[in-house]
Amino acid sequence: MYVTETGEQVLVIDGHVHLWDARPANRRNRYGFTFIDSFWGSHVGMTPPERRWEFERFLHYGVDGAVQDLFVDGHVDAAIMLPTYLRDFFVDGFNTVEQCAALKQALPDRIILDGRFDPRDGTEGLERLEAEHARWGFQGVKLYTAEWNGASRGYTLRDDIIAPYMELCRKLGIRNIHVHKGPTIHPLNLDAFDVRDVDYVATAFPDLNFVVDHCGMPRTDDFCWIAGQEPNVYGGLALIPSFIHARPRYFANMLADLLYFLGPDRLIFGSDYGITSPGWIVEKFMAFQFDDETAREAGHELTLDVKRKILGLNAARLYGLDVAALLALPQVAPADAARAPA
């Protein structure tokens, strides 16, 4: 919870959180290093110098680190964990459901654990999703269309293999489909990081919500166009708010475009933790205002009401979270982290 100078409580849901392991022992090959090295570049480039971590901590911050950064120092009331497997790069995976579950166990009332699937895994993948859902009760899943899988360098949401998975999500009550559309992994085939395939699947499954993570960056222009036409497409902001310290003007421009095309009800805050941490982002965002020209372009002022929606209320609505109950939870103390299973 963030409390304004006038004592107003602002719910904060971090819609994009990881718990990863990029230590040398978990790297399958040099790609594991180059992958975390790309993340490290964003951490260094975007984080205020006094809040930067050591590289060692960046490789593995663990449950204790996450509890501290998100819930003690980060103003976060609840966090949505989005798994990323990358087994072609990391022996036990980079940030799997199992790894993320450790944080869920530490703070069950505050962690929303999303599942994942890879539609290229066929029937076996469907069975695994169903089994994992039985265990964790997912309300959302994360897809990584650019992920490598054996000889494949990615897939698109237009592929026929997608529909059976969407049908299963529908049946299981998994309503929120997060799709990574952003930088870092770039397959050769442009289609795998092109955002235009979201349009197709969002029209085919109008009862599901599609959260496009990173708003398609660096394709925010294409994303705005698609999302403007599809009411069930949401902008997962992660990475965009991280610009607020190092490049505030570009943050303002991107947010203005997103507000203009999607409005304030379809944008979900995310810190992309641990690439950047929510504490400083939330503080800077609460203090941030558009200049007159940017507000005109956006069609919205950055009022307290708009900030509340982006920071927490929109995600609470998607995931059916009880706002009053979240705000009433006892404060997390650093000691809670110490009690958590490793």
Binding site: D37, W40, P187, L188, L190, M217
Partner: protein, 259 residues
Amino acid sequence: MAVATAASDAARPDAAASRRAELLARLEEVLDPELDRSVVEMGFIQELHEAGGEVTVAFRLPTHWCAAAFAFLMASDMQAALEALPWVTRAEVRLLDHFAAGRINRAIAGRGGLTEAFPDEPGGDLGALRRRFAEKAFLGRQERVLRALIAAAGAEAALRLTLAELEALAQRETPFRADALRYVAIRRRLGGPTDPNAAAFTDLDGVPVTPDCCTAHLRAARRARSAAEANAEHCRLLIEARRIAPAPEDRTSPSGLYE
């Protein structure tokens, strides 16, 4: 950037400097298609050597995982731009620190295409990719100059300009001169007829922008500009990060399948 020239030029430093300037001017013309910014301006060029007409360029992108298709396009464009100089007999272009560097460098050295670099994968249509980003660049460049002109003279006057009038305006000292020159250069390739009386400001189909549709058109163009600019800033942050706090290099893990 390390720029070296042959020892024999020690006696004729002016000749070496002039050749180096020519090479750099050529590289200045090579753009990162996603950013619509020069590879030199972005700081991608790491080394430039020249001896007896043989040129070697090494370039590095902000991450190991920058899009391979764009990396290939830039490498191939650099090679072509340098070899277009009459005194350059051969240009060797090397991509550094990239997941597909080995494959791309071998294909470029052998004058091959993307298919030669990645024979086992569908590479997509590079021509279509190039066109799509050129169209975004057209809109982005147009938005900058058109917005400045509208602020200075109003929409009616700005949209009445012919291509010849805009070109004349771009020769004068104005705050938006650089933007105007950049737009005129791409307008000559895209946006319809280029006779002197053609409208300066058109959409990608060559239809003149009118005051009625101007707001919506500018909005769409601004979106393209804003995305490219933010992407370029992200690249600059990553390059700066590598300078101020590079990760300790991993020399123990086994190679990946592209190396």
